[in-house]
Subunit: 307 residues, 2 copies
């Protein structure tokens, strides 16, 4: 079943210990869409500028991604530059040029209105809410946010949290959102804000999914999927968005919303995140095969499975 993703499409400059690249295709919606495209059809709602050409659009089309929701505005596409020289876990931002993204008002094409799966990328909570409320057939909404919105728009974000079924954030965002340094306690507090499930991403240590009592099945036991230890992380940009793409993509491909599907989805999230960081930008996500994805899923599974 199709997933609608709303979020940023960007051009990135990235420097890491493995090298430096300029003007490569990036943005949360791009990483999400490419990762999810290996599991199901993806529809994108985003804005790009006049510098976004047929080459970039073809990259999306080659993966069957529906770009009818890709708005072209006057001006330049969102640009971001960052480096990971000291710390592969967290980017240092060199510059952010919002450009056409600054005035982004998501417009959902009529053909997208029957979407049953929705991913609200990291944009202003008011825009996330507006998109969600426009869709009447959604069975599962995943959402992302960041420290910026947690600190500056807490009331607006509270509304997003009431509409999101699964929130995907990282450790520090979860702790900040809950105002609690204990991760499991923070998880419980975030779940009380609305979501039925909360995925907390731990970078190279994998991710944990916490459930509200009875959501998607019985009980409230958390579940953890590991990340594969990758010897050379070339570019961590987009790892979290690729994780989300693998996670929601797998769920949409299964149709059933059970604990077991969500647990497997957590593994597929880790799989897609681990591929994303192996090359700069979306290069690795553009060139995957289903056999590779299944092989890595098996490696991840064996990484923690006792006989």
């Amino acid at each position: 079943m199709s997933i609608l993703v709303v979020g940023s499409v960007a051009f990135d400059d990235v420097t890491s210990p493995s090298g430096s690249v300029k003007n490569i295709l990036g943005g949360a919606a791009t990483y999400f869409a490419l990762a999810a495209s290996y599991f199901t059809k993806v529809r994108v709602v985003a804005v790009v500028g006049e510098d976004f050409g047929p080459e970039q659009e073809q990259t999306l089309h080659r993966h069957g991604i529906d770009t009818r929701g890709l708005e072209r505005a006057k001006g330049k596409t969102f640009r971001w530059g960052g480096h990971y020289l000291d710390n592969l876990d967290q980017a240092k931002t060199d510059f952010t040029e919002l450009n056409v993204f600054e005035q982004f008002q998501p417009r959902i094409p009529p053909e997208y209105l029957d979407s049953q799966f929705l991913f609200l990328g990291n944009i202003h909570p008011n825009l996330q809410v507006a998109v969600r409320l426009e869709l009447d057939n959604v069975r599962l909404t995943g959402g992302d946010t960041m420290n910026y919105w947690i600190q500056r728009t807490p009331r607006e974000l509270a509304e997003t949290l009431r509409l999101v079924n699964v929130l995907l954030i990282n450790d520090s965002e979860a702790k900040m959102l809950a105002g609690d340094k204990s991760l499991p306690r923070a998880a419980r507090k975030v779940l009380a804000m609305g979501p039925q499930a909360l995925v907390i991403k731990h970078g190279e240590y994998g991710a944990t999914i916490f459930f509200r009592e009875g959501a998607f099945g019985i009980g409230s036991h958390p579940f953890r999927a590991p990340a594969l230890p990758i010897e050379e992380v070339k570019d961590p940009t987009g790892a979290g968005d690729s994780f989300a793409g693998g996670f929601i993509g797998y769920i949409a491909s299964q149709g059933q919303l059970t604990r077991e599907v969500l647990k497997r989805a957590l593994f597929y999230g880790g799989v897609m995140g681990s591929f994303a960081v192996e090359r700069f930008g979306t290069e690795r996500l553009q060139s995957l095969g289903h056999e590779e994805i299944e092989a890595r899923f098996k490696v991840f599974r064996e990484l923690t499975h006792l006989e």
Copy 2:
């Protein structure tokens, strides 16, 4: 089969967000011995001062721990004080009084010489080497070290690493020892220094065991055991030593040195570490039952197992 552990016995003052305690029984050898005592017989080689009384010794005896190697020296027992107010992951040391530990020369009672399992706690590498070389029947040696020895006694530590079968350290120690910020690459470099297996402890994210090609079985795939998300960590002191006690204790209880045993041992390490932090000092480790340990093992296992 019996494990011989050599290391520190101490009195600790600890402050955490959950409260404050003074003069409680601590030290790496104590945590290790108590954790391992749930799996097998443990023999301790350590030094204490005149302030170490029958009460403390009875705590060890109640767990069947052999204290014939506990030397009593003139003066006071090693004392350490620390707090975890800002960060539960890492202690801030308030004071360290080495006292009788400063002149510690491990003496192995003749009754201990047939020990088949050995754990070299975090002491001067020269002492670790001396203990290992005195024992002729050892089938598996586990070892610990810390940043202090990595930086100050690299040549002496290199000799320890050649004699240790399984090294247990944390992320930052592994990276420092290898001089490499990539954890899997650091693991490979550390394994090239001698150990057949390397356990890297990730705190609340669990631990990963890396194998040298062919050691303890076929291949070199790493394996990861999760840690249980604990809502309230009261006192992280001794978590790593308790992990080591559960890990080596389980291995010694099985007799066979196979991959599968080492993988299960990694889970039991996490189980014992997770119990240790639930109360101040060794309180929780003193009051466990086998049913609780097995129940938590099951929870850990289900935390990452797909159907």
